[in-house]
Structure formats: C-alpha cells, structure tokens
Amino acid sequence: MSSLPDRYEMVIGLEVHTHLKTESKLFSPAPVRYGEAPNHSVHPVDLALPGVLPVLNERVVELAIRLGLSIHATVNPLSIFARKNYFYPDLPKGYQISQFEEPIVSDGWLEIDCERPAEGGKKKGKKKKGEAPAVERKRIGITRAHIEEDAGKSIHAAAVAGSDDSCIDLNRAGVPLLEIVSEPDLRSAEEASAYLRALRSILRYIGVSDADMEKGQFRCDANVSIREKGSDVFETRTEIKNLNSFTHVEDAIEAEALRQLELREDGEEVVQATMGYDPERRRTSVQRLKENSDDYRYFADPDLIPLRIAPDRIEAVRAELPELPEEKRARFESEYGLSAYDAGVLTASRSLADFFEATVTGCGAPKAAANWITRDVLRELKERECELEDLSLTPSILAALIGLVEAGRLTARSASQLFPDLVADGGDPETMMVERGLEAVSDAGAIDVFVDEVIAANPDVVQQVRDGDDKPLNFLMGQVMKASQGKAEPGQVRKALADKIRG
C-alpha cells in the first residue's frame, strides 16, 4: 500500500525488455540457449569479427507483429534498424542494433485491474480474506515496441576467484529483445506491477516470450515522478534501471517516490537521473545524472535494409493469433457465469485457463470447477512452489471428483480429504472413495439415526430452534456431520433436522 501522502500521486512509465522466443539470435544463426558454458553459443557475427554482417531473423518480425496486434497497436509498414553507438566490452560491435525513430510497433494499449477506491472514504479498504476485491479496469497506453539485440554479460573481478580480471560471456549477445515502452499512465506501484503482470501474461499467451524474470528474460526500467493530485503537469522524473522481480519493481518505485517526496518537502529539486535500486536497503540512489548522458549517435544501419511489412503478412499473423487473456476473461464471465474476479484469476495464465476449461468439459459444473481451481489448486501450487504441469492432478481427475460431489455421492468434506492425495499421486477419485469408505450416506434411515442421536444430546439448542432461531441449526448440522464422519449428505441432514425439530 502506498505510503505517499494522499494529496500526492505517482506518475510512472515502464520500459520492459523481453527476450523473444526464437531458435536463433536476432542477426546471427547462433542458437539461443540458457545455461550454456560461457561463449559457447556464439557465431562470428556475435563476436563482431571483421567483415561479418547482420541478417534479420524473420521469426522475430513475426513475434513483434503478434505483440503489436495483441496490444491493439499499429504495426508499421516500414521500420528502420538503427545503430546505437557506445563502447562497452560486452557490446562487441561498439554499437547495438535497435530501432529508433521508426519502431515496428506503435500506439497500443492494454488494460489492468485497479482496486476501486472505497466509496465515500479516502482510505482504501483492506479486503477481507477470501472476498473478491472491488476492481475496475484501467487502460494503459503503450507508446511503442521495438526490436533490438541484447548485449553480452560482463563478469567482474570478485566474481572470478583470485583474479581482478573482468570476463565477458557473449552467449546473450544478439539475443532478440522487444523493448515495450508504456505511456506515463500508471499512478501507483501496484498499478505498475499489475501492468507488468498483464503484459507478461499476454507475452506468454501469444508465445512471444517466456518472460521468465529469473532468467533475465523480462527486465524492467521504471520512470518515476510524483505530483499533487489534480495536477496535469509532468514533474522531473528519474529512471530506475534493471528491475528484475515484481517485488523489486514495487519496492523500488515506492522507495523512489518517497525519496522524491523528501526532496520536495526539504525544498530541494528532483534532478533527472538514472537510479539504481538496492533491494537489501530498500533504497534508490543516483547512478548517473542525465545531463552527462551519452550521445548515442543513432543512424540507420547501412548493413540492413528497411523493414517493410505488407498488410497481408499482418493479416496472416492475425489469423493465427490465439485468444488473448482479455477476450478469454470476458468469455469466461459470459459463457460460464463466473465473477469478474474468478475469470481474472483463471485467465492469468493460458495453462490455468486451459486446465479450467478441460475440467468444465469433464464435469459440466463451471462454478464448482472455478472454486476448486482458484481455491484448492492454486493453494497447492503455492505451497509446493511448482507449476500446474508438475501436479499429478489432471483436469479429468478433478472433473471426476467434482462429478461425485455434484451427484451427491461425495460430501465436500470427504472430497477435501481425497484432494491432497489426488494432487500428489493422481488416481481415480471414485475408486479411492469406495476403498476408503467415504461414499456419502444418503440413506434416510441411516441419517435419521445420526439426527436422532444429536437431537437427544442437545435439548437446549433444539429448544432455541423451536423458538424460531435458525442460527443454531448450523451447529446441529455440524454435530450430525461429525457423527457420520463427514459422510452424511448435507442436504438430507438439513431437511431431516428441520423436519424432526419443527415437525
């Protein structure tokens, strides 16, 4: 939650660098691989040997078009590769091939969920556990997305034991990137984080990037300034570089906003600068002032011809585009009658959404499936710190389990007992239910026995119900379920209790 005083707001724009999912590099035939021995995934082009030339990987163009269409952007019919000139040991050519004045994608947007401000009150209400928060959609502009190549990695001094040498690994040099630049439309660290999640979700859905932050495939720079609410002025901003986790993004933005607030309150000015973020101290600090910034001497790369994209190429990509998170979410709400919240959770990743739909196909009970997945399956994933694919639980197993509950053959409580074993080892829920004697008791005579026992043991409570108070009925229900070891069919128990007490 923002610690900025209420009269202030943040103005945030994000620059995301995401690795594209390609077999080979942007301008060389070297394969893109992670975890290779240093300098083992390189080609003379990546080493910038004398006489080598770049050749554009057309797959990258395909993926960039896909992103452009997915964020409602213009895919430009003509874009230009430019050289960004600077010296650094992990930049072998002494320039990075990027796009400058004419990017491949411009003017797009995506939508994020924001918490709706609580009505009347200023304070944002803390949501209660399990309760879906009030959300509203907010559109975030995307200025541009352009293709560029990644640099290599420098490994310095201390990292190489007993040496003060610096080492260079060029495996990453030339890996294709899209730099995606948002408008300064974000107003809080939470919004920034929500934007990143939405963008990452799209990138994964459309197969453009794995966007794995730990592997450095999805990196973020944040431009931050603060201003008084109601103002439409853009104050001096700073840029926090190289944020590589959602927590760091949120914390760094918070820290930087507070730093700027302190400067303001002390009557000092915010100076345009590049900032670094120290996660241990949770502080940002100035790395470089912008007035000393490099002159990159951009010019069109004469080794590459202008990139022309014919309209039918764009249409061909559009035809192949999968359903996007946004569309899927709307469909889940209308087709399955899910809440906006559940639909949002279930469409956060394509694999989760596919799991849900396969489960629904198997059991025909969308709401139950949504409940099981958003509650139980996600909890298991979190506890086990694993991915959906790692579970033994398949959509058909979950569907079978839900089917038993829906048919009244298994109580919710019994189903919950079976669930952890199904998650860990899989299996057939019906067989397990029978083997463990968990089949629901729906035989009226058997239920009457439990009900009579409980009525006899709780005369005071029974009297309260007779006097017209329904609340203790739940207590009596619980007692019957307990007596039946959770196997009594709850609907019948409730009916039998009501009938016997009230006559």
Partner: protein
C-alpha cells in the same frame, strides 16, 4: 622473363588456353607468381603469400586440369586478395596495427566462390589502412610503389592489387572500392579495374569501411578478364542483406565488340579544363573519337550536383566508418595496449596506438557529423544530397546508355606529394565517388599515356548494367593497343 612468368602477364584468355593445352601448369604459375612477388618485393604490392598452401592447391588444380575436370575458367589461376577480404586461417590486417595477430576463422563470400572455381589464392595485397586513402601510403607495410615509376604512388586504397597486376605478379586480383579505390589505382597503374553495382558482390567477409558504399571488384589486364572474374564472384548471398537477388548474366558472352548505336553521355561538369591534366583530357578525347568512329553516338549530359560529391562522400563515408571501426577496441582480437589502468585507458590506448593518422582523422570526423545537434546539418543533409546525386544519374541515363569520364583528373602523383594535404588527396577521387554514392557500376581501363604514365578511362553504367560498360570497354581494347603497354622497368 621466364616462360611461366610471361604467362602471368598475358591475358586470362591466353593463360587459360596455355593451361588447357598443358603448355604450363597451375603449379608452375604459382611458383612463378611467388618468385616474381619476391623479386618485386620492393614494390610492396604484396604483404603476405600462402606459399605452401598455395602450392598444394595448385597441385590439386594441376591434377584436375590433367584429368580434364576443370572447375571453371579460373581453375588453376593465381589470384591475390586485398588485405581487407578475409580468408580462413589467414591474417587480415587491413594494413593496420590494430589487427596485428588477427587470423580469420572464416572465409569471405568471394573467397568461397573463387575457391570453388579453382582459383589459387596466392596471397594478400597492400592497401591504405582500412581502405582509407588514395595512394596506399597509409599502410603499416610502407607505401606500395607504382610499377611504372617507383617514385610515384600506385593509387589507393587497393593500390597493392593494381600494382601486382601491372607488374605481372598475377593475372587477376581483388580489391574493394568505396569511393574509387579500385578504379583510381587501376588508372594509375595502367590496368583494368571494375567496381560492380552496389549489391552485386557479397560483402560478407569484406572488412567494412563505409557499408553503404563498399563493393568488392576485380583487377585484370583486360576488360574480358574482369568480366570473367566478376561472373565468378557475383551473385546473391543471404549473409549480406544488401546483396541483390538478381541472376548473374554471362557477361563474357556479351562481349561482341559492337558499340554501334550506343549513346555515350559526357558529363559537362567533368570535362572542365581547370584542375584536370591536359594530357589526361587529350587521351580521353581520343578515346571518345575512337568510339564515335566505331558508330557510337556521344551526347552531353549534366550531373548538376557534381560539385557536392566529395563533401557528401566524406560525410557519409566517415560517419559509417566511425561506427564500423568501433569494434576494433582491443578487447576480443587484434592488438591491445599493454599495462592499461582501466577500461577507458584500454580503449584509449589500444585505439590511439593501433590506428594510423588518416583513420583517426576519419573516425573523429565521422563521430562529429553524427553527434547530437550536428546530425541534421551534416549527416542528414549529406543523405539528402546523395539522393539528388542519384537522381542526376537517373536523369542523365534517360538520354544515354552509359557515361564516359576520365577516371582521375591526373596521372599518378609522386609518393608523399599529397600526404601532407588530406583535402587534395580527397580530390583525386572527384570522378569516381559519384558512382559509389549512386550505387552504379564503374569500369576503369587504360587509354594511353601522358608523360609516360597511364591514363584511365572511366565508363559508368546503369544500375546492374555491367554488361554495357564491359562490352564498350572490350570494344575499345579490340580497336586499340593501350592494354598492351607495360611498365618499362618491369621485367
């Protein structure tokens, strides 16, 4: 001159015939080439030879020829490469200290093509450092000398290749031409040099000077020799995005000797008395007379932006060079300064010690013209003028089939005569740079002597129309004997 050595200075057609009839062998030719190179080492035309490797390849070629399994017209023919064209396992220094010790792990596209045609790559030729110069004086190997007069420059930057062909060390050599670097030395040394249409020959493996202008091309004794070599090295290469996806015509077959009905454009801006050697103008006018009597028509044409070509060229070429040469940083290969203090010191000293004065001058100029605040006034404007220059040619070609000019305003100048005055050195490219700016093919061929030194005639063709300038050049050789002139002192 030994029998084998005389084959080297014969044209390719005679040499081919001699090889095919078994009057000489590839091995004899390579031996003769190595011997002559050694004997004329004073020219500093050749900076390294592949001795044993070349001899082995020659033996293989000799066997093929004996068995009658000839790969191409170049099979068994010794060829020299300019030092900025890489060959696997060989050094490529670009005549610069900064590439000291560098050995290429890969072949240039033209090297692959020459090798699969059976040509024997005998060694590497001297040049101006990174192809920056017009005299082959800016070289760590010392200045190459003109075989016609060792006190004069052989031109540049492909001076070593031109001098080697002129001195009869090889029948054919490759050079590169960014602003005239093939045609001007060909003119100075009395041989034929061809700069193809931009994109005709792959630049894969050519160490870049100015990427949008560079083009590899052949040197030979005869126009038809250059046509044969061009056929071998041309063609689309998907490793060079600027390589044109056009078929390679059989240029040799189109050398009919017929120029009747052709219209030759004479740019009025090029035929001015001022700044042009009268002897040069006289030889070129004689050549024009030759064409007219052969049935060609001449018309005046105008290239109104001619006065801006040198400025435009030096803005664009230096800008691209400043970026292309950034990779020579002492980090991964080549020469690194010793005992550096930190990264900046490593860059500063490696590059200060590694680059020569002319290269530094151009890097600084190129860096300046791309700088924020100056880009529009210099580089941006130069790009716009380049478009105007290209249009000048398009308009001129509406009324003619090719354009004829002197290759250079004067014959070979003395060694050292211009090295203290960069601007006058730059002006020696005044007739050649426009073909690079417009991407057009240009041919230089000998058209006589002025004060005992060769004069070059330049033919500029329409884009991808090497056929016409080769046909016209060949027709000139059929009607004249200038190509038979030999440097007097060379035996």
């Amino acid at each position: 001159m030994s029998q084998s050595a005389s084959w080297l200075s014969a044209g390719l057609a005679d040499l081919r015939a001699g090889l095919d009839r078994g009057e000489t062998t590839a091995s004899e030719l390579v031996d003769a080439c190595l011997e002559r190179t050694e004997a004329h080492s004073g020219l500093a035309a050749v900076i390294s030879t592949r001795g044993d490797a070349a001899r082995e390849e020659a033996e293989a070629a000799s066997r093929r020829l004996a068995e009658g399994t000839r790969l191409s017209v170049l099979d068994g023919v010794p060829v020299l490469l300019k030092d900025n064209i890489v060959q696997a396992g060989e050094p490529a220094s670009c005549a610069s200290r900064i590439l000291e010790g560098f050995v290429s792990p890969y072949d240039a596209g033209v090297v692959e093509r020459l090798q699969s045609a059976g040509a024997i790559l005998v060694g590497r030729t001297n040049m101006d450092e990174f192809a920056m110069g017009s005299s082959t004086e800016n070289s760590i190997y010392g200045p190459a000398r003109n075989p016609w007069d060792p006190e004069r420059a052989c031109g540049g930057s492909s001076g070593g290749s031109a001098a080697a062909v002129a001195a009869g060390l090889v029948p054919l050599a490759l050079g590169s031409d960014t602003g005239g670097s093939i045609r001007q030395p060909a003119s100075f040394c009395g041989v034929v040099g061809l700069k193809p249409t931009y994109g005709r020959v792959s630049r894969w493996g050519l160490v870049a000077f100015a990427s949008s202008l560079d083009q590899i091309g052949p040197f030979g004794r005869r126009v038809r020799d250059c046509a044969a070599m061009l056929e071998c090295i041309s063609g689309h290469d998907d490793r060079d995005s600027t390589s044109v996806p056009e078929p390679v015509p059989a240029w040799s077959d189109a050398l009919t000797g017929d120029v009747e009905g052709l219209t030759i454009g004479l740019p009025e801006e090029y035929f001015v008395e001022e700044g042009v050697d009268p002897g040069v103008l006289a030889r070129v006018r004689e050549a024009i007379g030759e064409f007219e009597s052969a049935g060609a028509k001449t018309v005046p044409v105008s290239l109104p932006h001619t006065q801006h070509t040198i400025a435009t060229y030096y803005l664009i070429a230096t800008a691209e060079a400043s970026s292309n040469l950034a990779r020579f940083d002492g980090v991964r290969y080549g020469r690194r300064a010793e005992k550096v203090e930190d990264l900046e010191d490593l860059y500063l000293r490696s590059r200060s010690e590694g680059f020569g004065a002319e290269v530094k001058r151009r890097i600084i100029l190129g860096t300046f013209v791309l700088s924020a605040g100056y880009y529009d006034a210099y580089y941006g404007k130069a790009q716009r003028v380049r478009t105007l220059i290209r249009r000048d040619f398009e308009r001129a070609f509406e009324t003619c089939d090719l354009i004829l000019t002197p290759t250079t305003p004067e014959t070979a100048f003395g060694l050292g005569a211009k090295s203290g005055d960069p601007l006058s050195m730059y002006l020696s490219d005044v007739y050649t740079v426009s073909a690079n700016l417009a991407g057009l093919p240009g041919l230089s061929l000998p058209c006589g002597l002025s004060d005992g030194m060769p004069v070059g005639l330049q033919l500029i063709g329409k884009p991808l129309d090497e056929a016409t300038i080769l046909r016209v050049g060949d027709a000139f050789e059929r009607r004249t004997a200038h190509h038979e002139s030999r440097p007097p002192e060379i035996v």
